[in-house]
Every structure is written in structure tokens, then in C-alpha cells.
């Protein structure tokens, strides 16, 4: 049972490298996968199964591997890596998974002993009660034991995305893919060819089936083809890239391992996620060999026959000198040839077909080489401790036991239909190959070669020429000569009967999910006779494996149990991804510092230098508050900023405010329709606080409208609402009022905006702009003016969101920072401070000003806010006007804006809390408690020295002076409050218009 080396294999170098598996050092050759390297070192036990923790070995030689999943410690702990795909490199450190304390002695193997209770539907039946157990016991326990590998920690992937747009996408660079690609050499088509292996050639390298192509031996033809394709300007080939997803429409996702066979360089991207859009798709992704279910068909040492052959040719390793071959079809001829050419003789050949069904060539080889042969026979089962030791053959009523450590199984070939079905293509059952094959494509999809169910090499060229004829490419003829018979024959065999009726001996139908034939039978007996229900009840063909080697077998077994044709049972849906993708690959660079695009104002660098703490407003980074020293808390900073502003002056970077320029012959009419306010009598060069409603009458946005003339306006919007408001306006212009001649431009980014306010603001403004008259008479509240500033213009508006004397300054971002610094230079003697959004919120709440999205939530009208004065009552129409007179919007008991003041001035009113009539809540709430409203804003006012609140309360306008209670988070005792006018500071507006 020692692995041999096939020295005729040219694809593996002679350079020896070392790697570690479960702490032990082993050798490999450059080019080996983990699996081929482990087989080379005679390692058979590689992992433990998902549910029963049964010992598992290497079953396949490709992406379809259900067993050999390992954890790559040297690659940031990457779990669940298929050992059959991942190439080994010098110094690689690998461990097995899902075992404790060791692979050989796994405590979890107790599940195998307890397996009779873990039958199909175990979870559904077991974890039903008692009440409370699920949350406290079952779920934590299941979560702890679930999964195979452990997720990586402390790893910052640098995987990137690459988009492609192409005319032709060829998936698979095997024989059919390469012939198809040759047809496109130097044509007008842009072609992208994707191969999951690091080599092109597929079957030409994986077996010795093909002898010559057009007189050249297969490797010479391959070399010629590779040269031809690499020279073609219109063809690009991606190696080490696996197509995982076929989306609508002709959109693909493929994952490229940039460091296949190499140690990852942490400074470079280790993975590239390719996102491909193509006009035509050519699937040449071949076939997958399937297994046969028999007793203990999961023991390490059981391997698919074509995989065994692939190890010989592709990796130059003969896993076992004398394996047993078990088949139901003619494909094993190739394996027999390969082994005999290396001087290896199978221990036995078992074929379920009758003598007369078996090809003469096979029988001749068996006879000439004295290989014990058993026709019309089958494998009853295998036995052994963590590996095959004994194989039992049933021939009629006779049982023959053979000692061997490997069993090569071939249950036939399935076209690899996963991508085709992901594209929503329809399948049909083909009795000749005993499998489903592509029938009707849903997208522009072609299938060529074995994926289309064509296993006949001599018909390959005709198929390709015919199917690609619509693209008007030149006809190619290749004469393919084979070393084996071209005829593919198969006799259906899905499971064999076990003579041992034991709970510990299992016949698996899905190795990846530990589903047995017995589970399928039980599920059907319990009424799950629809294949999709059965799949979910048993977990058969689910998860990351998607039943690559097992799904057709399970359909066949189910059809037999249901006494139906397989075509009647149908297939389940193969879901993307074809093979697992790491989240790092999906996320690409949209992580950490690039998690979300960031927008910064022209003053951002100043804010950083002055210890601003930022908050995200949409994608904007806005100063939340400024720290004067490291230990200053947010509360302290906001209290300080608020008090300083009310006493002196403060300035806010308001550049993020949305700004829209509106111009055109009908601009006045448009503005009258868009906003509730009346703009007709508004004087040019004045501004107005305005409100925009939806058609339901609910507030959408607010802002200040500057009227330059009846044909020209500038509107400001909320920071996060700017794109929505512009889109809203454009939509109405283009769909509802196309007769209006009005044009809009977003000018948010074209101006840096500062809001300066406080009692000393006028002095500062006079110092900064000495030539401008800021007196009340010359510059009254809600007026604005344009001035020259260097080589640009500046607009100053008298407005305030704090309730203090204030101005808004709009300047080109070119001079934003410069002017900001100038303001501070001039404002130093007046104790000018910068303030952030949190202080802005506190100050506006003191003044009773609302914030869209805080006081409003899509259910609030201007009348609810007592903003009736903003509604142009004589206007003919505006958006939402009719809705304001609906019975519901004019109800007296709607939630209306009020102020809240705590009775006990040391109490704190918290934002978001409920307003109720009870002074204390019961510990257990049995009956609904009458809800009066909620606190929309709550702050501690340093200017009033107590907490204040704005609230939306039912019928609030008529409740002034009433006493209610506000709930407190985490407590049952509520705090008493009085309903007051929402304007806490300067209700006479003396400060505002001073």
C-alpha cells in the first residue's frame, strides 16, 4: 500500500518542497496539490465527516471533493479548503478539521455510535421542547458544534475585483474548450477563456484516453494550441480561476487564486473576484464522475476511478499499486491501461454489467494480464479501521473477500450541469448516459463536449462546428485518435445491497452532509416524497458541495423508492456558488478604510487639526463636536459649545447642506407647486424657510429658498436629502409638469457653507468683511446679498438655525478653508468657537426648530408641527395640498409637536422614550399601556440648566400645561414632565432679529 511515482508525468517538477500536516513534516513536489502530496506520503486519513465524525480520506481529484477539507494555518487560518484543489508550497502548514483532540482519536466520533438517533429530520423532531430550551441550551450547543473549520481571525484581505465585458466566454480549457477557442483565433470576437487548473488541457493531461490529434500526440497538440491562443490578440486566458456563479443575464462570477502554489504576499491581492458580462457563453466544463453507494463507501481508500487516473497522469502519483476497481460502465478501460503501462496490476476488477455487455477490449486486457475479474458482480461493502482493509464482493449469492487498501469506483459520468442550471437552463434525462444533460438554454448558453452529454470524441468537432456556426467562424476539423474505445456504455447502478444490517455500517448517498440511503428511505416513508422537500429534510445535496458527485445518485435512488422514472422526479436546483467563495473575495476592497465612500468638506483638514470628532451623515464626515482636551467628554464639549455660542459666537461647517439652483421661465410656478410656501409676493434677494411635502401631505424635506428673481431660485435641502429632493423635482418636471420650462442643477459641491451665529456675530462679520453693512436696516433677517471676493463671488444670507443672530456664508470651495481661517483670525477676540452637529441640534431644540427625520418620520404634516404659517393658503395647488384636508390629516388627536419640561429639574428626558399617564410601569406588562406619544428630541440645556424635550403627543396643541410621564430606559419609574411651548429660548425672537 505504498504510493508510487509516475516518472512519465511531466506536469510535476522534481523540486522537492516541505509542508506540515497536523504538525508532521512531509515532502511534496512543486505542482502538487495538498491531496496529491498527502497521497504521495501514503496519508489516507485526512478529515472527519460533518455529522458522524467518521474517518474520511481523499475521494476525488478536483473541486467535487466532499471529504478532504482542510484548514490552511499558514494562510491566515483559511478553513474548509479543498485539498484536491489547493496547491502546496514550501513551508505550508495545514491541519485537519472537525476533530478533537486529534484526527486519529476524535472525541466527536461518539456521534457515529449514537448515529441511530441522528437520522433524517433529527433536528426537526428533537428540538421542539421544552419551552425555553431552544434559546438557552439547544441553539448555543448546536452553534458550538456546527461547521467544519474555524473562521480566520485578524486577517485583512487585499482581494480585488476585476470586471470584464466580452463577446465570448469559454468556461473550461479542456479539449472541447480549446477546440472552440481555436475557432475564434484572430476573429472579431473578444474571447475570455477560464480554466480552474493552472494548466490547459483537461482530459489530455488527466488521462491517456487521447492518443493523437491531427497526427500530433496530445501534448504536442496542446503545446501548439497554447501558442496559437497566446499569440491571438483577441483571446485572454485566466488560469487558476473557478467560475462559481452564472447570473442573469450572462453575468458570471469567477474566483482567481493569485498565489496558487505560492506563499501569499500580504502586500498584494491574494484573490481576484472576476465579474464577467458576456454576449455568448460556451460551457466546456466537462463532467463529474459519480460514485455508487455501498456499505462503508466512505472509508478512506475509496476513490473515484477517474480521479485515481488523474493522480497518475496529472500529479505523477499512483496512490496504490494494487487497488480494486468497481464499475458499471466502460470508462475504466482507461484506468486499466494507465495502471498496466506503469506495471501496476489491480487486485480485482468488478463490473456490474453482464459478460456480454462488457467491451471485448476490456475483457481481453483483463485476461491477458490475469486480473481477477468479477462480471455481473458488485461491491457489497468495505471494512477496516480508519482505512479500507477488506473489500467484499458479491457475485450472485457468493461473497468474496479481498484484501486491499484502495477501491476505485466509477458509477458513470454526469455532465457538470451546475452552471447550466444556475442560468435557468432546462435539463433532460438521457438514458444512454444514464444522466441529466442540458436541453433548453434560458440565456445565450452553448454547451460543448461532455457537459452537453457528448462523450464521443469523434463527434466532438462536428458538435463544435455545428453549434458555433451562427457565429460564422471557420470550420475546423481535427482527427482525434484514442487509446481506448470511443463507445461509452453504462448499466444503471446506484446502490448495492448490504448483507450486514448494522447501525455502524452505513451506505452514504451524500458524503459531504453525511446523508445515507437509509435517511432517504426514512424521509420518504415519513411523507417527504417531493425531491425539494426531501432535500431540505435530509440535507442531501445541500450546502457548499451542492451534491456534485451525489445528487444524480440520490434522484435515482428516490425514483426507485417512489417507483417513478428519474425524469419524473426531476432535479433540485443547483445553487450558486458552484464552490465556496470567501467573504473576503466577495467584499473585495470595500472593507475597512474603503467600507463606504467618504465625503469631506473643504474645511476637513482644519477640523482634524482642531480635534473634531466626526459623525457620518450619509457619506459625509461632519464634525460632531470639538474636543478642547483629550479627557473632555461629548456631553462636556456640547455643553461648552452651546453656552459659548449663546454668550459669544460659534461657527458650523454647513457645507454638506444640499443646494439646488432652479431657473427658467416658469421657475416661480414650479416653486409654488413644489413647496407649501407662497413665493409669488416674495421680494427678490430675500429668502424664506420652506417645506416640501409628499403627495400624502407628509413632510419630505425643508430648507431655505433664496429668490434671485421670479425666474431664478436657489434652494437648500437637508444634507442627506439633497439627491432625493433633486430627483423628486426632476421627476415632477419630466412627468407631471413637462409644460413648465425650468432647469435644475445641483450646486451642493460648488459652495462651502458656514453658519455663524451668536450675539457677537455681527462684530466678527464686520471685521471679516469691512466693506459690507451688516446693520439690521441694511441687512435684515432672511435677506441675502452677493459680494465680490477675490476672483470669485460670495453670498451672505441673514439666517439662523440656533435662534441667535446669524449669517450663512456661501463661497467657492477654492477659498473655503482660507475664509474659514480668516473668520477665526478675526473672531478670536470675540471668543468665536467652532461647533459640531450635536451642539447645533441642542441649540435648535432650545429654539423649538425641527429636524427632518427627528421630529418627522414620514407621518407628520406641517399642521402637526404647528407650522400652518408655512402653508400658502391662497395658492391654487402644491404637492400634498389636497391630502392636508383629508379627515385623517385634520384630526384633532393627531400627534402634534410640543415641548417637555421636567417637573423635577434634575431629571433627564431621553430621546425616543414614550409619554404615558402612569408614574410607574408594572414590572410585568400584562395589559397594553396607553401611549400618548414619544420624545423626538431630548437634551440638557446649559442655558436653562435643566433637561428639555421636544415631543410628538396626541392632541398635543391642546395639552399645554398638562402633566404626563416619560419612561426611562431600563427602569419602571417614570419621570414627571409638563407639556410646554416647544420654544424654550427667546420666544419673542429678540436675539434672532437683533
Amino acid at each position: 500500500m505504498t504510493a508510487l511515482r509516475n516518472h512519465n508525468c511531466n506536469y510535476i517538477s522534481n523540486v522537492k518542497i516541505n509542508f506540515k500536516f497536523d504538525g508532521k513534516s512531509y515532502f511534496a513536489y512543486e505542482g502538487d496539490t495538498i491531496a496529491s502530496a498527502l497521497l504521495r506520503n501514503n496519508i489516507r486519513l485526512v478529515g472527519r465527516s460533518f455529522k458522524y465524525h467518521r474517518p474520511r480520506g481523499i475521494y476525488t481529484c478536483g473541486i467535487e471533493e466532499p471529504n478532504a477539507l482542510v484548514q490552511i494555518i499558514s494562510e491566515h487560518n483559511e478553513p474548509n479548503t479543498r485539498a484536491t484543489i489547493k496547491r502546496v508550497y514550501d513551508g505550508m502548514v495545514i491541519t485537519s478539521q472537525n476533530r478533537w483532540p486529534s484526527l486519529s482519536y476524535d472525541f466527536g466520533a461518539i456521534n457515529n455510535i449514537l448515529s441511530p438517533i441522528f437520522s433524517a429530520g433529527f433536528y426537526y423532531k428533537t428540538f421542539m421542547g421544552p419551552k425555553g430550551f431552544w434559546k438557552n441550551i439547544y441553539e448555543p450547543l448546536i452553534r458550538r458544534s456546527a461547521g467544519l473549520g474555524k473562521p480566520p481571525k485578524n486577517f485583512r484581505s487585499k482581494s480585488i475585483h476585476q470586471n470584464h465585458n466580452t463577446d465570448i466566454l469559454i468556461i473550461g480549457a479542456g479539449l472541447s474548450g480549446l477546440i472552440a477557442a481555436r475557432k475564434f483565433v484572430n476573429t472579431k470576437y473578444k474571447v475570455l477563456m477560464i480554466e480552474q487548473d493552472s494548466f490547459l488541457g483537461g482530459i489530455l493531461k488527466n488521462s491517456n484516453k487521447v492518443d493523437t490529434i491531427n497526427g500530433l500526440n496530445s501534448s504536442e497538440w496542446l503545446e501548439e494550441t497554447e501558442k496559437l491562443l497566446s499569440k491571438a490578440q483577441n483571446i485572454k486566458i485566466l488560469r487558476n480561476t473557478l467560475v462559481t456563479t452564472y447570473n442573469f443575464t450572462n453575468h458570471f462570477v469567477a474566483l482567481e487564486d493569485k498565489f496558487a502554489g505560492k506563499k501569499i504576499d500580504l502586500n498584494k491581492s491574494e484573490l481576484t473576484l472576476h465579474k464577467i458580462r458576456t454576449s455568448n457563453t460556451i460551457l466546456c466544463n466537462g463532467h463529474i464522475e459519480r460514485f455508487i453507494s455501498f456499505r462503508n463507501n466512505d472509508l478512506p481508500g475509496v476513490m473515484l476511478a477517474s480521479s485515481f487516473e488523474k493522480y497518475i497522469h496529472r500529479y505523477g502519483v499512483v496512490p496504490e499499486e494494487r487497488p480494486v476497481i468497481f464499475t458499471n460502465n466502460s470508462s475504466s478501460m482507461s484506468l486499466l491501461n494507465s495502471m498496466l503501462s506503469l506495471g501496476c496490476k489491480p487486485e480485482a476488477y468488478v463490473d456490474s454489467r453482464k459478460n456480454e455487455e462488457i467491451e471485448t477490449d476490456i475483457k481481453k486486457i483483463l485476461k491477458e494480464n490475469n486480473i481477477p475479474s468479477y462480471f455481473e458482480a458488485e461491491i457489497e461493502g468495505c471494512d477496516g479501521n480508519k482505512k479500507i482493509e477488506k473489500i467484499t464482493i458479491r457475485k450472485g449469492k457468493i461473497f468474496i473477500k479481498i484484501k486491499s487498501s484502495m477501491l476505485c469506483v466509477s458509477g458513470g459520468y454526469n455532465p457538470d450541469i451546475h452552471l447550466f442550471t444556475q442560468s435557468k437552463g432546462l435539463l433532460k434525462w438521457d438514458k444512454n448516459i444514464a444522466s441529466f444533460k442540458p436541453d433548453t438554454p434560458f440565456q445565450k448558453t452553448l454547451t460543448l463536449g461532455s457537459v452537453s452529454g457528448n462523450y464521443n470524441f469523434n463527434k466532438l468537432c462536428d458538435e463544435i462546428n455545428e453549434k458555433l456556426s451562427f457565429l460564422n467562424t471557420a470550420k475546423l476539423d481535427f482527427e482525434i485518435k484514442l487509446n481506448v474505445s470511443n463507445k461509452y456504455s453504462i448499466k444503471e447502478l446506484w446502490e448495492t445491497k448490504s448483507k450486514i444490517n448494522s447501525n455502524w455500517s452505513k451506505s452514504f448517498i451524500d458524503l459531504h452532509n453525511d446523508v445515507t440511503i437509509k435517511d432517504l428511505k426514512q424521509a420518504i416513508s415519513e411523507g417527504f416524497d417531493r425531491i425539494e422537500h426531501l432535500k431540505r429534510y435530509t440535507t442531501n445535496s445541500m450546502g457548499t458541495d451542492q451534491g456534485k458527485i451525489s445528487s444524480i445518485n440520490s434522484l435515482a435512488v428516490v425514483s426507485k423508492l417512489l417507483k417513478k422514472e428519474i425524469s419524473e422526479v426531476g432535479t433540485t436546483t443547483y445553487r450558486p456558488p458552484y464552490a465556496p467563495l470567501s467573504f473576503a473575495a466577495i467584499a473585495g476592497r470595500s472593507t475597512y478604510e474603503f467600507y463606504d465612500p467618504q465625503r469631506k468638506t473643504s474645511i476637513h483638514s482644519w477640523h482634524l487639526k482642531n480635534n473634531a470628532v466626526f459623525e457620518d451623515v450619509g457619506q459625509w464626515k461632519r464634525p460632531w463636536y470639538f474636543k478642547t482636551h483629550d479627557k473632555e467628554t461629548m456631553h462636556q464639549a456640547v455643553q461648552r459649545e452651546s453656552k459659548m455660542l449663546r454668550e459669544n459666537s460659534g461657527i458650523l461647517d454647513g457645507s454638506t447642506l444640499g443646494k439646488i439652483e432652479i431657473k427658467g421661465r416658469d421657475a416661480l410656478e414650479f416653486m409654488n407647486l413644489m413647496y407649501t410656501n407662497a413665493f409669488t409676493k416674495m421680494k427678490p434677494m430675500t429668502s424664506r424657510y420652506a417645506m416640501m411635502l409628499g403627495e400624502d401631505g407628509m413632510i419630505k424635506d425643508d430648507g431655505i429658498i433664496c429668490k434671485l428673481s421670479d425666474q431664478h431660485f436657489i434652494a437648500t435641502t437637508t444634507s442627506s436629502g439633497a439627491p432625493k429632493v433633486l430627483a423628486h423635482m426632476e421627476e415632477y418636471l419630466q412627468t407631471e409638469w413637462p409644460h413648465l420650462q425650468v432647469y435644475l442643477n445641483s450646486i451642493t459641491e460648488q459652495f462651502s457653507t458656514f453658519n455663524i451665529s451668536g450675539p457677537k456675530t455681527r462684530e466678527i462679520m464686520r471685521k471679516v468683511f469691512p466693506n459690507i453693512d451688516f446693520s439690521n436696516e441694511a441687512f435684515p433677517f432672511m435677506s441675502f446679498k452677493n459680494f465680490d471676493y477675490k476672483d470669485t463671488k460670495i453670498r451672505i444670507m441673514r439666517a439662523s438655525f440656533t435662534g441667535e443672530l446669524g449669517y450663512e456664508i456661501y463661497i467657492s470651495p477654492k477659498y473655503g478653508l482660507e475664509l474659514w481661517e480668516e473668520m477665526f483670525s478675526c473672531g478670536r477676540e470675540f471668543n468665536l468657537i467652532p461647533y459640531g452637529t450635536e451642539t447645533m441640534h441642542l441649540l435648535r431644540a432650545e429654539k423649538g426648530y425641527i429636524v427632518i427625520g427627528q421630529e418627522t418620520d414620514g407621518t407628520v404634516t406641517p399642521i402637526d408641527l404647528n407650522y400652518n404659517w408655512m402653508i400658502g393658503k391662497n395658492k391654487k395647488d402644491f404637492i400634498g395640498k389636497r391630502s392636508l384636508s383629508r379627515p385623517d390629516t385634520s384630526r384633532e388627536d393627531r400627534k402634534q409637536l410640543v415641548g417637555l419640561s421636567p417637573i423635577n429639574k434634575t431629571d433627564t428626558i431621553e430621546e425616543g422614550q414614550h409619554i404615558v399617564e402612569l408614574n410607574e410601569l408594572p414590572k410585568k406588562i400584562k395589559n397594553p399601556i396607553k401611549y400618548l406619544g414619544h420624545v423626538s428630541s431630548g437634551y440638557y440645556s446649559p442655558n436653562l440648566n435643566h433637561s428639555i424635550g421636544l415631543a410628538m403627543i396626541r392632541g398635543g396643541k391642546n395639552l399645554l400645561g398638562k402633566k404626563f410621564f416619560v419612561t426611562v430606559s431600563g427602569k419602571t419609574k417614570n419621570i414627571p414632565v409638563e407639556v410646554v411651548n416647544p420654544v424654550f429660548v427667546d420666544p419673542e425672537n429678540k436675539r434672532l432679529i437683533s
Binding site: 502586500n267 465612500p597 468638506t601 442643477n745 460648488q750 476672483d791
Partner: protein, 177 residues
């Protein structure tokens, strides 16, 4: 001009241009006014661009144009041009000069490089020379102008820092593709 980064076959620079966004009906009178004010005939076909060493004029949509002035000008000149266009009742011109960031991407691998940041189809037959498009690059809204030997990309100034970092990061990680 500021050199942002370069990698194999790709060179990225940041430029400082002036820009005016013009809205109007695109009829003859509109075209005549624009030509009179700018001495450039506006492009007539949707997404078409006209350019020389002094300007780049693109038709963004059926009623919107972007005029990028490549040669350095006094900002007041731009504002005067904007005011002059705005004297016409049914046209809107807005100054976008300093609210936008401008990047130029040149080199034989510029399409492959950009396709790391955008799904947009940059193939000649889909995005021919002398056309423009509005799409997302690095997840932000951008305008991209195809000048044949290079792409000019504009985005909102507020994204400038983020966009620069994404370009540099992509160049750094572009290993052998």
C-alpha cells in the same frame, strides 16, 4: 497637475480645470447662444463630446451639457460666462469649477485598470472615442470622457480624497493582471 500614481501601462494624474454645467432645450436658438458665448458649437448627439486642447464639451443627456475648460482661466472669467449664459431666461448655467475633481487615466492598460473599479463596459465598440458616460467608479458617481488616448474622469470634490486613495490602492494591488 498632480501625479497620483502609475503602474504597469497606466498613468494617473489629477488636473485642475474649470467646468460649467448648462441646461437647456438643445434647439437651434440654444445652440446659437452657446456658440456665441463660448465660441464652441455644443455637441448635438446624446453622450457625444467635442474637445481640443482648450476645452471638452459633452452632452450629458437630452437637456444637459458639461463644458470643461482645460486651459487655466481666472475664476471671474468663468463666473462672467455663467452670468452671461444665465441672462437667457430658458437656460441655466452653473459654475462647477471648484466643486469637481478631475483625473486623467492614460496608458495601454487603462481599461483593465479602470475595470477593477467599475463594471462599465469600456470596449471601443460600446464606449467609443469622443463619447462620455455617467457611471459609478469605486462606488461613487462619476462622469467619464473617452478621449481615445486617455479617459478624463470627474467626480464631486468631496470624494476627491477617497477617490485618490482608491486609485492608488488599486494601482498598488494590480499585480500581473
Amino acid at each position: 497637475m498632480t501625479e497620483i500614481t502609475s503602474t504597469s501601462g497606466v498613468n494617473i494624474t489629477q488636473k485642475y480645470y474649470h467646468q460649467i454645467i448648462i441646461r437647456g432645450n438643445g434647439l437651434e436658438k440654444f445652440n446659437n447662444i452657446i456658440e456665441e458665448k463660448t465660441s464652441i458649437k455644443p455637441p448635438l448627439k446624446n453622450l457625444e463630446i467635442k474637445y481640443d486642447s482648450n476645452y471638452l464639451f459633452g452632452k450629458n443627456s437630452f437637456d444637459q451639457w458639461s463644458l470643461i475648460l482645460i486651459t487655466k482661466k481666472d475664476h471671474q472669467q468663468i463666473l462672467n460666462l455663467v452670468s452671461s449664459i444665465n441672462t437667457n431666461e430658458n437656460m441655466l448655467a452653473s459654475d462647477y469649477s471648484h466643486g469637481q475633481a478631475y483625473f486623467e487615466i492614460e496608458g495601454e492598460n487603462k481599461e483593465i485598470f479602470l475595470n477593477k473599479l467599475t463594471h462599465f463596459d469600456l470596449r471601443e465598440e460600446k464606449f467609443p472615442k469622443s463619447t462620455m458616460a455617467q457611471t459609478t467608479i469605486a462606488r461613487i458617481e462619476c462622469s467619464i470622457y473617452n478621449l481615445g488616448n486617455k479617459f478624463v474622469i470627474t467626480c464631486n470634490k468631496s470624494y476627491e480624497d477617497y477617490f485618490q486613495k482608491r486609485l492608488k490602492d488599486t494601482a498598488l494591488l494590480s499585480n500581473a493582471s
